[in-house]
């Protein structure tokens, strides 16, 4: 390492070649997954390279090297932990379900404010997805009456929503 610090490329190459299997063994013993271990080997090599001037020539090289390797390992666990926690949060929160529930409550409130026939027609055709004929027979009214109720109801709703916005 000391010759490498002086800028001796051949010595540096030799050193890194020796380090790779050592680091590989170090990480594989400690984490699952050879790919993740290999990533950490590479990250440690980059750190050895960029931080090489923090090596104190009077101290053992391996203490310096494994302190960096342990730091990278701790970093890996911290990141994996954070990721796991975020995923857990996402699945607990279920934002789609929350949004859908809030929307349903809003729709119920708005439709309740309409005349009963219009509200029922909109609910049957626009929310439950019935055809005009089915909705008309359920409500006991003619098809044109059902269509007209939906049209008037939606118009009244949109007037009301816009009026509230303005």
């Amino acid at each position: 390492m000391i010759r490498a610090l002086e800028g001796d490329a051949a010595a540096y190459h030799e050193l890194l070649r020796v380090l790779v299997p050592q680091l590989r063994a170090f990480f594989r013993r400690r984490i699952n997954g050879d790919d993740a271990a290999e990533d950490l080997v590479q990250e440690t090599l980059i750190a050895v390279h960029t931080k090489r001037s923090t090596y104190d020539r009077s101290r053992p090289f391996s203490a310096w090297l494994y302190a960096i390797a342990r730091y990278k390992l701790a970093d890996h666990f911290r990141m994996a932990h954070r990721q796991a926690r975020e995923e857990l949060n996402d699945s607990i929160a279920a934002p789609d379900f929350e949004m859908a529930s809030i929307a349903l409550i809003d729709i119920d409130r708005l439709l309740d404010g309409l005349p009963a026939k219009q509200g029922a027609a909109i609910r049957a055709m626009k929310i439950e997805g019935l055809s005009v004929a089915e909705a008309a027979s359920v409500a006991g009214i003619s098809q044109s009456d059902a269509k007209m109720s939906v049209y008037r109801g939606l118009k009244r709703l949109s007037d009301r929503v816009q009026g509230r916005v303005k």
Binding site: G7, S53, T54, A63
Partner: protein
């Protein structure tokens, strides 16, 4: 897997191509530059905020002034030494015990003051000419120095983030206290030991909190 191993070999080749002789004494040099720049900003800040004390020329001959300054310089030096150890991965930090030594050496001076002062006068002795200002100003003046230390540590490789942050915070506040000596009108050991040490403790705690985020590499 083979592809990844191949990637590692390629990485080794690329790193070897990039090798240049490493700078010797890089840590000491960067610490010196960071601290000097930060302290210079603090001195300017002090002059802009409150100015130097008017009797500065006189107190330069007083032993009280110098023992107070020595306490802070020694604390700054001790924490800087520990910080330079923390900058290197795997270095021994067993010298951390030197950090509280200046405070312990200064303690008898404060004891002497209390003994030679009538107990009814202990209040003014302790409260001096404005302790709130002193503690807060030291903390404010330590911000540029903490910034300078942070700049220096960006090219280092600290592995104990909490400890490194605390020691750099302590060091920044001790140097800030030296700067603040140019203004502080209270020279008694009791005052310095209580309020400056309070500022050091707050700075160390804040430094440790921020260090965990700022020093990551």
């Amino acid at each position: 897997m083979m592809a990844l191993r191949h990637g590692t070999d390629q990485l080794v080749d690329r790193l070897v191509l990039d090798i240049r002789p490493a700078q010797r004494g890089m840590i000491a040099l960067r610490l010196a530059v960071g601290v000097t720049a930060g302290a210079a900003v603090s001195v300017i800040l002090l002059i802009l905020l409150v100015g130097a004390r008017p009797d500065l020329a006189n107190v330069l001959q007083s032993s009280r002034f110098w023992s107070k300054a020595a306490y802070m310089v020694a604390t700054a030096g001790a924490s800087l030494l520990v910080a330079s150890r923390l900058a290197r991965p795997g270095s021994s930090t067993s010298i951390a015990w030197i950090v509280p030594i200046p405070a312990l050496l200064y303690l008898p001076a404060a004891g002497m003051e209390l003994m030679t002062t009538d107990p009814s006068q202990w209040g003014p002795l302790l409260l001096g000419a404005g302790w709130q200002l002193c503690t807060w100003l030291v903390l404010i003046l330590s911000i540029p120095i903490y910034g300078g230390l942070w700049w220096a540590f960006r090219s280092f490789a600290p592995t104990q983030m909490g400890a490194t942050g605390a020691v750099t915070g302590l060091c920044a506040s001790a140097i800030a206290a030296v700067v603040y000596c140019l203004h502080c009108p209270s020279d008694t050991a009791v005052f310095a030991l209580v309020w400056y040490t309070l500022a050091f403790a707050i700075a160390a705690i804040l430094g440790s909190i921020f260090g965990r985020r700022l020093l990551h590499w």
